[in-house]
């Protein structure tokens, strides 16, 4: 090491540096272990097996659809929480975040009780439309959206609260109604928050396991997403589980990194 003199700002106290490095190791070592244990010789053949592709396609499709649902329902909900004042708003706000802390399995059970074939709403759906959500791909999307929506709502609500409402007033004085103002002024100004929320939401949906397996079961090609496939493979063929895990890891990193690059930094 060179003995250059440095200002105090460049030095980190050891008390912080040690736990910081330990934390980094804690996060990275399991991932390195995953790569170390990978059956590299047989990897290509396993990677291009139909099962892997099926699970991956299903995962990407369901996470994307779930994110779209969250955007369509979550942005208006965030707007309601940020801008409207109504009795019990604090309570509603707390309830919205419940799926964040709820064990996903419990969420799955709750969904079954409401949307299951004997559930409060599910029974009607079955009776009137002959339509049932559990154990279908649509069920996977519902389970993922349920768990992931709070991420979007919280992120968008924060962006809305930080946005200056006077720009909306300026739009109103220019003759823009509320809907036009929302589309042309409010939404563009909170775009970074929406994108960040959607990315978090998508990532959470992609990794969803508990609610999905409880509500939608584990039917290959229909409801077996990547996390479910990993769990299934672990019991029969651990090598496959490792391969699936690496694929899931790569897809997540590539998508998150590219979205960050394109959107979050581009909008600043």
């Amino acid at each position: 090491m060179s003995r250059r003199r440095r200002g105090t700002s460049g030095r980190l106290p050891l008390v912080l540096l040690l736990p910081a490095l330990l934390g980094l190791a804690f996060l990275l070592v399991p991932l390195i272990g995953l790569l170390a244990k990978a059956p590299w010789s047989t990897l290509p053949s396993r990677l291009f097996s139909e099962d892997v592709w099926q699970a991956l396609r299903l995962s990407l499709l369901c996470a994307t659809l779930a994110t779209l649902i969250c955007l369509v329902l979550g942005i208006p909900l965030a707007w309601l929480l940020a801008r409207a004042s109504f009795p019990g708003r604090v309570l509603v706000r707390a309830l919205v975040t419940v799926p964040l802390v709820l064990p996903p399995v419990v969420g799955g059970v709750a969904l079954l009780l409401v949307l299951g074939r004997r559930g409060l709403i599910g029974e009607r759906l079955d009776l009137w439309f002959g339509f049932s959500l559990p154990f279908t791909t649509a069920g996977v999307v519902v389970a993922e959206a349920f768990v992931a929506m709070p991420f979007l709502v919280i992120s968008v609500e924060g962006a809305l609260r930080a946005a200056d409402p006077r720009y909306e007033e300026a739009a109103a004085t220019l003759g823009a109604g509320r809907w036009l103002t929302f589309r042309r002024v409010t939404l563009p100004s909170i775009a970074p928050g929406v994108v960040a929320g959607a990315v978090l939401c998508w990532a959470r949906a992609l990794g969803e396991f508990g609610a999905t397996i409880t509500f939608a079961g584990n039917l290959p090609g229909t409801t077996t997403t990547m996390p479910l496939a990993v769990y299934l493979a672990l019991e029969t063929d651990p090598d496959v589980a490792v391969v699936l895990s690496i694929v899931l890891l790569l897809v997540s990193v590539v998508v998150l990194a590219s979205l960050r690059e394109r959107w979050i930094s581009g909008l600043r």
Binding site: D164, R166, Y167, E169, A170, A171, A172, T173, L174, G175, A176, G177, L180, R184, V185, P188, S189, A191
Partner: protein, 353 residues
């Protein structure tokens, strides 16, 4: 069509009650200290704040009359220039100016063509594609002005339109704003705390203090005959209230002033600080208005020095005097110094209160 605004708004301890009337082509300045309620009045006319009581109407067209009528801002023919302009940062200058026309359902190409003509009118055609953030203060102000004018509003509302500019640009932008307001055929309300902006730009001044109109009139009238201490301070005059009898005025706060011409009854007495002279020794020949005084403050103005004086038991309680820097040196002025102040009776302006 005349804009009538009888605006009454209560917010806790603050209470605003203003009665305004603006004719077509007229520029009215609402002038007052911070917190006087000027911006509240502007927001009420724009519809951003409903009035609690009163009525806002453009001739027979009622905009706000509680409890029945309230027309939302987007349905009022108004244009607003906000203090910090509030240009939409995600839109170009051109799109900002076209926004109002687009919101009124004008075709995109037509709206852009119209917006371009407005930008050309303020010499900003080459900045059409620029984002508001990249514009200078003066440029942003002009974009905000033409954005408000592009929809051909009946009422133009300007909230401290020059306050965000630095001193060097203000002069130029103020002159340009004056030209645009001169051409504008609708009614203009200019809210400002700067007497110079108000004097230069407005046809009529309405002075507001603590939510009430304290004086109203043409700029020249207000500059000559202030009616409150705030207005006197704005136009740089010494102002006192008193009771006149012959050539003597007994001031309300004690002391007397002698006039050149007789008056009677309750009067305002006003004179410029330049009418006051200061001496170390009592002046000989004994002019009628000579009082002992104590220096309380000294401020450098452009080419003169303004001296604040107090405690003149036989004259006004406080007094402003403008003297030359040379006189400051001759007198060795310092706070707390006792002096003699004299006032030329011929420069006193007296009018009924």
């Amino acid at each position: 069509m005349t804009l009538y605004a009888d605006v009454r708004v209560s917010r806790g301890a603050f209470d605003l009650a203003l009665d305004l009337k603006i004719e077509p082509g007229e520029v009215v300045a609402l002038l007052g200290p911070n917190g006087a309620g000027k911006t509240t009045a502007l927001r009420a006319i724009a519809g951003l704040l409903p009035v609690d009581e009163g009525r806002v109407a453009l001739d027979g067209e009622v905009w706000d009359e509680p409890p029945r009528v309230f027309r939302a801002p987007d349905r009022r023919p108004i244009g607003v220039v906000f203090q910090d302009y509030l240009l939409f940062n995600h839109l170009s200058a051109l799109e900002n100016v076209a926004f109002g026309l687009r919101a009124r359902g004008v075709d995109k190409q037509v709206a852009r063509g119209e917006a371009m003509r407005w930008l050309e009118a303020v010499g900003l055609a080459s900045f059409a594609r620029a984002r508001p953030r990249s514009l200078s203060g003066g440029q942003a102000q002009r974009v905000a002005l033409v954005r408000a004018l592009a929809t051909s509003p009946e009422v133009l509302l300007l909230d401290e339109p020059l306050a965000a500019l630095d001193a060097s640009t203000t002069l130029h932008v103020r002159a340009e704003l004056g030209q645009h307001l001169g051409r504008f055929e609708g009614r203009t309300l200019l809210v400002t705390h700067d007497p110079l902006d108000a004097m230069v730009l407005a046809d009529r001044l309405v002075i507001v203090e603590n939510g009430r109109v304290v004086q109203e009139g043409r700029p020249t009238e207000i500059a000559r005959r202030p009616r409150t201490d705030y207005v006197a301070q704005l136009v740089g005059l010494n102002l006192y209230r008193g009771n006149a009898s012959g050539t003597t005025v007994a001031l309300a706060d004690g002391g007397t002033i002698t006039l050149a011409e007789p008056a009677s009854g309750p009067v305002h007495v006003a004179f410029p600080p330049t009418a006051v002279s200061l001496y170390v020794d009592p002046p000989s020949g004994s002019p009628r208005n000579t009082w002992p005084a104590v220096v309380t403050g000294i401020e450098q103005h452009a080419h003169t020095v303004r001296v604040r004086l107090s405690a003149t038991p036989t004259g006004p309680e406080t007094l402003l005097a403008d003297i030359t820097p040379a006189a400051v040196a001759d007198l060795h002025l310092s706070p707390g110094q006792p002096l003699h102040a004299t006032l030329k009776a011929t420069e006193i302006h007296t009018y009924p209160s």
